[in-house]
């Protein structure tokens, strides 16, 4: 099976020269979801923006990004615009800023349809209602006439998903789509996304800092630390036998319904700020398994779908 989105050795430097994304490779397949996970500040959003070609002006991107074989990094701006309105869609991290507060939800979705699909206003409005209803909004006709602030957080997130689906994309990138939501609503939104993946063969790149979200909604996972993907593979394998100490530490740090009475295995320290990143393995200062060689270089172990970057992996 060939990948819908194939990212290879993607590097991105911000205008000041700081490298936020460093040699990142991953693939998203049609009908599958890849979770990109890591603590905040690891570069997840930057990686997604690099794929969408939405990093700020002056940022430098290298490597290769292919959507159904077509190279995105070299494509002319006009072509990228076209793809963003037809094959490629992104739900941004800040739900509050993603919807325009002075336009009704329906008219915002319809706007995209008149621009990208050249629908007449009335047809676009009708299609907007259909889209809202397809993401599980009851009373879509009424809700289409509502302003964003009149909707609950979960409803706004559904509206954003509807807007992202307006162009019937093949790939959807969702950046922390449930982070601001309550657990019961979170579960509903994740079911909606996994349903879309199954029923429409959508490829989903789901960005989150929450391993629980990955376990509920993803087939594959890529764990990002300080700009690099330190481990990746099928969720079931990576979560049951993590090899990179960072993955293992994230998995162990979470409180659960069963963890009462035991201290959590806290991961000490924090993600290094941009510009103070080390040679060798960047996780080394926080790692209890570090060896001398970790200060020198990082190894690339495994190939294809199951890979990690560690000299002294967990379970050895």
């Amino acid at each position: 099976m060939s990948a819908l989105l194939e990212v290879e050795r993607l590097c991105a430097e911000l205008p000041g020269g700081a490298r936020v994304v460093d040699e990142v490779s991953f693939s998203v397949f049609a009908g599958r979801s890849l979770g990109l996970v890591g603590e905040s500040g690891c570069g997840k959003t930057s990686a997604a923006l690099a794929v969408m070609r939405l990093l700020p002006d002056g940022a430098v991107t290298r490597g290769s990004v292919k959507l159904s074989g077509e190279s995105l990094l070299e494509a002319p701006e006009a072509r990228i615009d076209e793809l963003r309105g037809s094959q490629l869609s992104m739900i941004f991290q800040e739900p509050a800023t993603a919807l325009n507060p002075v336009l009704t939800v329906g008219s915002q979705i319809a706007e995209g349809l008149t621009v990208h699909q050249r629908l007449k206003p009335r047809a676009a409005a009708a299609r907007a209602v259909e889209l809202l209803s397809s993401v599980g909004i009851a009373d879509a006709e009424v809700k289409a006439r509502a302003y964003p602030h009149q909707l609950s957080g979960g409803m706004r997130q559904r509206a954003l998903i509807a807007a992202a689906l307006a162009c019937a994309p093949r790939l959807l990138i969702a950046d922390e789509p449930t982070t601001a939501l309550d657990v019961t609503v979170q579960a509903q939104i994740l079911s909606l996304l996994t349903g879309l993946k199954r029923e429409r063969g959508l490829g989903l790149l789901l960005i989150t800092h929450d391993l629980g979200v990955v376990s509920a909604a993803c087939d594959d996972v890529a764990v990002m630390y300080a700009g690099r993907i330190v481990e990746q593979g099928p969720v079931a394998e990576v979560f049951s036998s993590p090899r990179h100490p960072y993955t293992a530490a994230l998995l162990k740090a979470r409180p659960s319904l069963q963890s009462r009475g035991h201290p959590l295995e806290a991961l000490l320290g924090q993600v290094p700020p941009l510009g103070s990143r080390l040679e060798g393995c960047r996780f080394r200062p926080r790692c209890s398994r570090a060896l001398e060689v970790c200060a020198v270089k990082v190894p690339h172990v495994g190939e294809g779908a199951r890979r990690y970057e560690c000299h002294h992996p967990v379970g050895t």
Binding site: V213, P255, E265
Partner: protein
């Protein structure tokens, strides 16, 4: 049995037409942790603020066994809770001054929350999210409280830092015999520390019982819905 440290009876909070807290009653015993869980907007923060008298209840009573300053609230938003122009030193001086306690305690307070005195001259923006939350906790501890109301103390933190802060809360409780009302929308967080769990929905407590019992044999359908959602997001 000794008298409860806190007893709350028939508490109501209104904001104009909004009825945020609807007849809440519970008691807190010494050195226990009551976890309060519920989804956003259900009235948790309103209840917390009414307990520390930052919001005036429309009816009901809050009885706290001790002087008011021994009951401290750690605010929900660690960013908003610290004044951006105040150094750590100034942020700690404020409650110490109010309580008439010496500034000489600052290093010891920082140590209690796992930080060093080198942070004293820093501004909030020069601290990590976890350090800011530790400073918030240090501020609350400065007046030697017996009861801490912790409003979403780890919600804004990454899982790694969340674990550090939860461990810190548990150590502090053991060392100082503190009583906690731990508020969170996250059932896993609440059940990690709580001895008893209260479930809040639309301003009311719909279930209250020993943590084990609430998790294993929930009585209210809403508690079951929360547990199911939490289980889906478990690893």
């Amino acid at each position: 049995m000794s008298a409860p440290l806190l007893s709350v009876s028939g508490l109501h909070v209104h904001y104009g037409a909004i009825h945020a807290v609807r007849g809440v009653s519970f008691e807190l015993g010494r050195s226990e942790t009551l976890g309060l869980v519920g989804e956003s907007g259900c009235g948790k923060t309103s209840l917390a603020r009414a307990l520390v008298k930052l919001t005036r209840p429309s009816s009901g009573t809050v009885r706290f066994d001790g002087p008011p300053r021994k009951l401290q609230l750690v605010f929900q938003d660690p960013h908003a809770a610290l004044d951006p122009r105040m150094t750590v030193r100034a942020a700690l001086a404020e409650p110490l001054d109010i309580a008439g306690l010496p500034h000489a305690r600052m290093p010891e307070l920082l140590e209690a929350v796992g930080l060093g005195p080198e942070l004293l001259p820093r501004l909030p923006r020069e601290l990590s999210a976890g350090q800011r939350q530790r400073i918030n906790i240090a501020r609350a501890l400065s007046v030697e409280p017996t009861l801490l109301v912790l409003d979403e103390p780890v919600s804004a933190l990454d899982v790694s830092v969340q674990a550090q802060v939860l461990n810190l809360l548990s150590e502090l409780q053991q060392r100082r015999g503190l009583t906690y009302l731990l508020i969170s929308h996250d059932l896993a967080v609440v059940s990690h520390l709580a001895t008893r769990i209260a479930v809040m929905r639309e301003g009311e407590l719909v279930e209250l019982g020993p943590a084990e019992q609430v998790i294993v044999t929930p009585q209210h359908p809403y508690t079951r819905a929360l547990l199911e959602a939490a289980a889906r997001l478990a690893l």
